[in-house]
Amino acid sequence: MNLSSLVIPVLLAGVAVCGMGRRVDVYGTLTHGAEEGLTVLLRVIPALVGLLTAVSMFRASGATEWISGLFAPALEWLGIPRETAPLMLVRPVSGNGALAVASDLMNTYGPDSYVGRVVAVMLGSTETTFYTIAVYFGSAGIHKTRHTIPAALTADLTGFIASALAVRIFFGT
């Protein structure tokens, strides 16, 4: 048993007990909230369809590999192992895609190798940026996103450089 499998049952039971203690109709409130979740989902589906179609075409066309090769010299200069390029391309657009690429890289280079560790830290210290932006602004009805994308990509790039740096600090190469 690990810590994360404790979190969910404890949270569910804790919230239910707390609600009963405050005389809240726990079940009625739960289903009412779930209804709201469904409304959120209906707003999210169009964004998902658009994004996943483009991502899936992009990966199938071989563009990912070509761009990885293109960026390799810049990555070496930033201290990022070039083997991680496909992950950095997929990470901002697809969470499931990034997990797939990362698991592939960990199997190829070994989970305790330099590349394997950098891949894991990259995955843990960044998010699916474009998906998040699409979902948040889509449901809030925002068309002009202003400086959000450049700022979010700055965070991602810093996260990638910092991942390689942190692995070098804690484990060496």
């Binding site: 779930a34 979740g37 469904l38 075409m57 992009f58 990966r59 560790r117 998010e127």
Partner: protein, 194 residues
């Protein structure tokens, strides 16, 4: 508009590479497959999304989210002073941040969306500085225990999948700091709305 550029760019590049590499069949299939997988994903998300929305509803009904909000109030008030004048927005943002810290991404999203919807009122479709900041905070990972990554490492044969935690925390802190700084600096350049 930015998403329109990203989307058009990806689709046009896919077509160009599909033609060059002779994988146009695969690209065509992938387009249809991608659209279908979006619905698969939404259906697999639906249960968790509804469950967490329900749980959060109970939390706000019994005053739990109010006490959670109190914990994060001093920090969030500095980051997002305008949004935090509204109690319900502050509550949603605080719960969003704490769900993110716990690694409950599916719980964090509906909460963040609720906050974003309230913050977007009367903006006429243009994101305010604080809304940009909230979204940047959510595009950067602030997870304390990356359980999914640990499970992927374990699956690849790693004996100590959690030994990367300090490295993940260091990289996360640097990345969040860079995102927030960039958002602050860029908001001064393209000042459309205070």
């Amino acid at each position: 508009m930015a998403m329109a550029w990203v989307w058009t760019g990806m689709v046009v590049l896919s077509l160009a590479f599909g033609l060059l590499t002779g994988r146009l069949d695969a690209v065509a299939n992938a387009a249809l497959e991608g659209a279908r997988s979006a619905i698969d994903l939404s259906i697999s998300m639906a249960g968790i999304l509804c469950l967490w929305s329900g749980v959060m509803e109970i939390m706000s009904a019994c005053g739990l989210s109010a006490s959670l909000a109190r914990t994060f109030r001093p920090l969030l008030r500095r980051l997002l002073p305008n949004a935090c004048r509204d109690e319900e927005t502050l509550a949603a943002i605080s719960a969003n941040v704490s769900a993110n810290l716990l690694g409950l991404g599916n719980a964090a999203t509906p909460l963040g969306i609720r906050a974003a919807q309230r913050m977007a009122r009367g903006c006429g479709g243009t994101a305010s500085n604080e809304l940009c900041l909230l979204v940047v905070l959510n595009t950067a990972s602030i997870q304390l225990i990356p359980a999914t990554i640990a499970s992927v490492r374990a699956a690849a044969g790693c004996q100590t999948p959690f030994d990367i935690l300090p490295a993940v925390w260091l990289a996360s802190v640097l990345s969040v700091a860079a995102g927030l700084t960039a958002a602050r600096l860029l908001s001064r350049i393209g000042r459309a709305r205070p």
